[in-house]
């Protein structure tokens, strides 16, 4: 079973700072999704990356997929308090073709005003 390791687990920063969150696996991802989860809510999809080396931007968020498709990063520029939440990476489960997602343990981000 593919395991996803996220780092750091916790991050507390001041408003306006930049940050990067990482997601790594020992095996190749077919694709990788990044979700954001706020307290009391379900995960909400931010982006899907599919191609090695791919970079996608969503306002102040930049997502990168490693060339070998075994790692991904999420970079936030000039973080805002509204960015506070749990950031999860997830991939389709190995050889499974049923669509199940395997999640990393998440990075809890706190942005202080």
């Amino acid at each position: 079973t593919q395991l996803l390791e996220q780092s750091p687990q916790f991050l507390s920063i001041q408003e306006g700072e930049n940050l990067t969150v990482y997601c790594n696996s020992s095996s190749v991802f077919s694709s990788l999704q990044w979700y954001r989860q706020e307290p009391g809510e379900g995960p909400v999809l931010l982006v899907t990356v599919v191609t090695g080396g791919e970079v996608k931007k969503l306002k102040r968020l930049t997502f990168q997929f490693g060339d070998a498709r075994k790692d991904s990063s999420l970079h936030i520029t000039a973080a805002q308090p509204g960015d506070t939440g749990l950031y999860l990476c997830a991939s389709r489960g190995g050889s499974s073709n049923t669509g199940k997602l395997i999640f990393g343990q998440g990075t809890t981000l706190q942005v202080k005003p």
């Binding site: 077919s30 694709s31 999704q33 979700y35 009391g40 809510e41 379900g42 995960p43 909400v44 999809l45 899907t48 599919v50 999860l88 997830a90 389709r92 489960g93 499974s96 073709n97 049923t98 669509g99 199940k100 997602l101 395997i102 999640f103 990393g104 343990q105 998440g106």
Partner: protein, 115 residues
């Protein structure tokens, strides 16, 4: 925007009792999932469901668990005899197709507390 809805938002049950968690997936979606998240731990896959049958289930999804789509809209997760360790957030998700680049849409979850 259509969304996945789950009820109840919080369920408190005595150990050994049966619980049914309910989900209404997005109407044109064909693939349905249940996940759980124990407090402080990662989101874990329980089961996937397509064409009125289970496609895949995890080791967690033992004989105490069952899923059903009793009508055209609801998708339920039943735990027959709850245990303390079943306490968790349970999330329902659905997708149009199962392709790896397609999103799964999650509900806001049911918090299950077993006493």
């Amino acid at each position: 925007e259509p969304e996945v809805t789950q009820t109840p938002s919080h369920q408190v049950t005595q150990m050994g009792q049966e619980v049914i968690l309910r989900c209404v997936p997005i109407s044109n979606h064909l693939y349905f999932y249940w996940y759980r998240q124990i407090l402080g731990q990662k989101v874990e896959f329980l089961v996937s469901f397509y064409n009125n049958e289970i496609s895949e289930k995890s080791e967690i999804f033992d004989d105490q668990f069952s899923v059903e789509r009793p009508d055209g809209s609801n998708f339920t997760l039943k735990i027959r005899s709850t245990k303390l360790e079943d306490s968790a957030m349970y999330f329902c998700a659905s997708s149009v197709i199962r392709a790896s680049n397609q999103p799964q849409h999650f509900g806001d979850g049911t918090r299950l507390s077993i006493l």
